[in-house]
Subunit: 217 residues, 2 copies
Amino acid sequence: MIDLAILGLLHDQDLHGYELKKRLGELPGAFAGVSFGSLYPALARLERAGAVREVEGRRASTAPTVPMTGALSGEIAAFRARSHPGHERDDQGTGRRNRKVYGITASGRARLETLLLADTADDRTFALQVAFASQLPPDQRLSVFERRRAALAERLRILTARRAVGPSDPYLHSLREHDARVLTNDLAWVDELVALARLELDGTDQPVPTSIGGIHP
Amino acid sequence: MIDLAILGLLHDQDLHGYELKKRLGELPGAFAGVSFGSLYPALARLERAGAVREVEGRRASTAPTVPMTGALSGEIAAFRARSHPGHERDDQGTGRRNRKVYGITASGRARLETLLLADTADDRTFALQVAFASQLPPDQRLSVFERRRAALAERLRILTARRAVGPSDPYLHSLREHDARVLTNDLAWVDELVALARLELDGTDQPVPTSIGGIHP
DNA sequence: GTCATCATGTAAGCCGTTACATGATTGC
DNA sequence: GCAATCATGTAACGGCTTACATGATGAC
């Protein structure tokens, strides 16, 4: 989880731990909580594993390390620079010598791709996968969304089956109803994401979600 | 978290660990996951703390330990008995001597009330509080819901403020939008719960959520 | 008699938290 | 010079998971 968040942010830009924590907090979906106590050890672990490396001095700022795909964090950085002028007098290695700026390595990028493609049932992980979805090629992005769609549909199926029966305590009932609504809502959202990814994949808005070849109608 | 779930289920009925796990799985909202590895230690801890006590033989079945309020788990039990006839030939202490049936104690009931009233930001905890809401007196139930409402409203406020600004990556944007929708949805649900609790509190459907006295219009 | 299920527990480990300790830089 | 913020880390601990170990009972 935290590995994905760290690598996803470092994909576009070299950052130090403290800044990383701030960026994490700006992501939606309850990532505000990550504390130094888990962030720094995670960075150390990733460094030992060769996924990130300490880089010299300045952060890359407007010239991202990696050429393509990098809209996300770059834009965050640009925005931050815009809204806090005068706090960014630091891009030349002037002060703050003791902070450690990390950059992602080739092996780290491979690890990031694995994590972005991973098929977990975890909601928070999926939220991160969406947040960094632009870092994946369109076809893989699409398949992540479609797998998620299938998992949610299955959850809804189970819940709906269970809802038919069971006790009638009003609060428990309301809770069940709400859960079903939430799942339906999530499903609609993923459909939206799938549609977005399809558009980016080939421009046409093809209705059939299955394979490319001729499916007998 | 798991303490609340255990005590909430034991409030209406004595149960052993294995059965407890099954009941947990039947609750909505991802409590299916609780495993024996956390359940049994939790039971042992609760027993050491004096919140539960091992009771003799049969579970209370249709004659709940505690008189009032106990609709919830009793109904689950009734339903289960109905749908699996022939599996419940056990209410007299016939077989299964080696299983440990637990009952809640007075101090456990106090602890349960504390947990039901607790003001946590945790979504899963709130789901449990709703599931067992019938075990609280109507006025306290209402105040739990209203506190939750305030917390959600605050979260939405923060998120909305942040949404106005920020980067424009399409997937990140979609994620933010979805988060806002989810919060709005949750808020509407809590409003529903508040309305329900108000009705049970005094029958009248009073519109003003604040204090009782005359508020200048 | 053997297999599935019921039933209870322990051990190792992951992932994260809070609290604590430390020090550099900047603004006033 | 002092406080606030920036910045990095360690220690202790909490809660939950998976995997493992064990054994009783009932169905066939």
